[in-house]
Symmetry: C2
Subunit: 519 residues, 2 copies
Amino acid sequence: MNVLGMFCVRARCGLVGFRTATSLRSFAGITVDQIDEEVAKLLELKAQLGGDDGKHQFVLKTAKGTRDYNPKQMAIREKVFNTIISCFKRHGAETIDTPVFELKETLTGKYGEDSKLIYDLKDQGGELLSLRYDLTVPFARYLAMNKITNIKRYHIAKVYRRDNPAMTRGRYREFYQCDFDIAGQYDAMIPDAECLKIVHEILSELDLGDFRIKVNDRRILDGMFAVCGVPDDKFRTICSTVDKLDKMPWEDVKKEMVNEKGLSEEAADQIGEYVSMQGGMDLAERLLQDQKMSQSKQACAGLSDIKLLFSYLQLFQVTDKVVFDLSLARGLDYYTGVIYEGVLTQAGVAPVSTEAQNGAPAEESVSVGSVAGGGRYDGLVGMFDPKSRKVPCVGVSIGIERIFSIMEQKAEASAEKVRTTEVQVMVASAQKNLLEERLKLLTELWNAGIKAEVMYKKNPKLLSQLQHCEESGIPLVAILGEQELKDGVVKLRVVATREEVDISRADLIGEIRRRTSEA
Amino acid sequence: MNVLGMFCVRARCGLVGFRTATSLRSFAGITVDQIDEEVAKLLELKAQLGGDDGKHQFVLKTAKGTRDYNPKQMAIREKVFNTIISCFKRHGAETIDTPVFELKETLTGKYGEDSKLIYDLKDQGGELLSLRYDLTVPFARYLAMNKITNIKRYHIAKVYRRDNPAMTRGRYREFYQCDFDIAGQYDAMIPDAECLKIVHEILSELDLGDFRIKVNDRRILDGMFAVCGVPDDKFRTICSTVDKLDKMPWEDVKKEMVNEKGLSEEAADQIGEYVSMQGGMDLAERLLQDQKMSQSKQACAGLSDIKLLFSYLQLFQVTDKVVFDLSLARGLDYYTGVIYEGVLTQAGVAPVSTEAQNGAPAEESVSVGSVAGGGRYDGLVGMFDPKSRKVPCVGVSIGIERIFSIMEQKAEASAEKVRTTEVQVMVASAQKNLLEERLKLLTELWNAGIKAEVMYKKNPKLLSQLQHCEESGIPLVAILGEQELKDGVVKLRVVATREEVDISRADLIGEIRRRTSEA
């Protein structure tokens, strides 16, 4: 091992300060191809050392930070999606879909410090690929590739982040995003205001308890950094630190700025003063008069837009929940203007999880926090366009996993049973040797569009057929027996009341439709 | 470089014949962790050498074998999904979801020769992961992990195969599967027959032209191989070759059997005779009497079940499309009983694609072939269960991409315009300075659940507002002007007829609902 270890140390020492890629992509005689080859050899060696152990240590689990959805969870998920999709459709959005992986270079340089969380695919020959980290960058790539300059679209799909999972709080490595974006050159703040209206509508309709929508603007942040004396090249990294204010107290944020990022104590303190400010249109007006802030053109542009935004939010009747909050930063690099975040504020909202159920005291439950976020990103599409043509965009992403967690908890707490199928009627029999007759009737029902099922047994017991109906909430049973067959009728039983009526075979479909139409 | 090169050679030589993993997972002082570390260092070196070149060679594309869906394609996709999902729900299925990637070992040893097509994720530390290759193996893993012995579920999601893409024929590396499976110990052939009924219903309802459903049984194939003199250890590989009969003539299949797989000419010829047979229940009866075939217990069990299956298919009224076809093999390892495949037979069915449109002659269009497939896999769940408890399963997968291709072509050919939004009304104005009034009305409509939009301009031209309605199929325009505001009315314009009526503000929502309720 010394040999290998020595090589690597030598190579890394040699590379200190060496950043210019040569056309041959080689250094000190090492080419990229050679590295590839050596990596392959090492991985093969690894496989030989540990690769055959799989059988003995076989673990029956999903990948770290991911989960299956069982039928009950799916029923809840469908309900949440339906609410969100109807809202997006009410606002006139189309929908698109993009592949789950992109060329690695498509994602490169878009996410700042978060890039390390991107999942890469193994180099199996061919293109280098990564799993999508969000839906925004693929959307921008889609717009540039298809030369689209105007679109209002939603996209609901899974994204992937090699983050530290916190599944009890609804943070996963695979999770859904529900994105709504408006691309196009329009008059200021009108689409931006619509995005906030959408967050307001969705969080209200899902009935998750009280919420706030925090608003800020990247230009205000940058202007603030400038007037507080942050060097230009530190804007992004200081911005990332400010973004941690919802998880860390100011003292720790300040410490990170000063000790880790090398900011002066004075600059940090000035930032600290600004980021404690919250308000509405009035705060924007006051800051426009602020001696220091008003020195920054950028900040003034942002503040004027916040004022305009609030005037539209008044027309949209959503100002009750919106707060202009100077501490809101949002980590991603690509935002250029307005940014916002929807936060649940109700105390005691705690997501359900197996861990939480197994003994964790209810008092420890914390708010799940941010459930929506977004902003304006006018430069992202231009990064993909060969001629750098800009397509201004603004959008919002609903953080659905945390919402699922809350809805699951609610369902758990409620007495109402969640149905996982929509079966209207079960075709049953009390007697033996009637499988063929059951299947015939079942076919009639299916062909008429009735949701129906039968037990896959030749001679099931009536009790077990009825029990299945009770368990899965099937409202009706169509019972066949020798007598019914002779009489040309079916005994229709209402599971809830145990009431039974003979219905002529010809009227059966109409009767089932009538009795289940309110569902 | 010599240093590195020497190390690797030495390590590999040392490992020849060395297959027993020690508990320390180390060899000659090298541990897996150390290898991980060295690999990380080398990859970092590679990134430094070549990582900065991206900008110059940037290619604006989706990954090979994948595609975006634009809003029109999504509208078609939604329609197809709705048809399929209603069928699954009519048959009483619940739905589940699983992560897009699984532990690599979960997929190992399940797909036979196709395993080489699995996408692996890069080893970035932590678990080794692969993208799911189908929905069946994750389903089996889900059942075993949650100790579920009875379920009828559907699952619609994307799967991944590093196959040679043929996008003109709807073959992609990322594609949807729509799976319906029944797990549980039931009386023979009842759930199997329901799966075929489902294929029949879906292919009929999607109205894709004529189709056939081929049926066979793995036990019949294995029995046939046995009586034809194929050695036991060659069953699977010969089965893979038989599977190619839908793409290759018999001569080539025979050549592969004899030349590549080392089968005797005589055995191959005997197989050739059997695999040319097609029929119904009668063929199963005839083969049960066949002198050679009847020597195999396995074949007889399969043939009896085919007979039983056909009796249920008669009750389900689907025998018109079902053929017992001894050439049907299906490549996957996990099937243990009945197998089937739905095939479109209408001549001239050719999928739309940009390549095909750009000059390829229409005569070259070929049938898209198989659009559904499945079978019984009674052993798969047991492979995951620590105590090898078996859960018998049967299922079907709808090959949706080929169906999309056909539906897209149909939409293209049809005069009817595909709407990509559901907007009912556009709020417009002919005069300047009415943005605020437009936004107020828009808010009223949204709050009442009406799907509405507005142009994001302070003073848009009436003509461009009307044009937008024409283009995107919006049926109504609510026009505001000074006079209307004074009178407390809105001018409601029907886009198709250009008819205009003044409606009092109070009645507007009811009137819009009334006029768009048939949609």
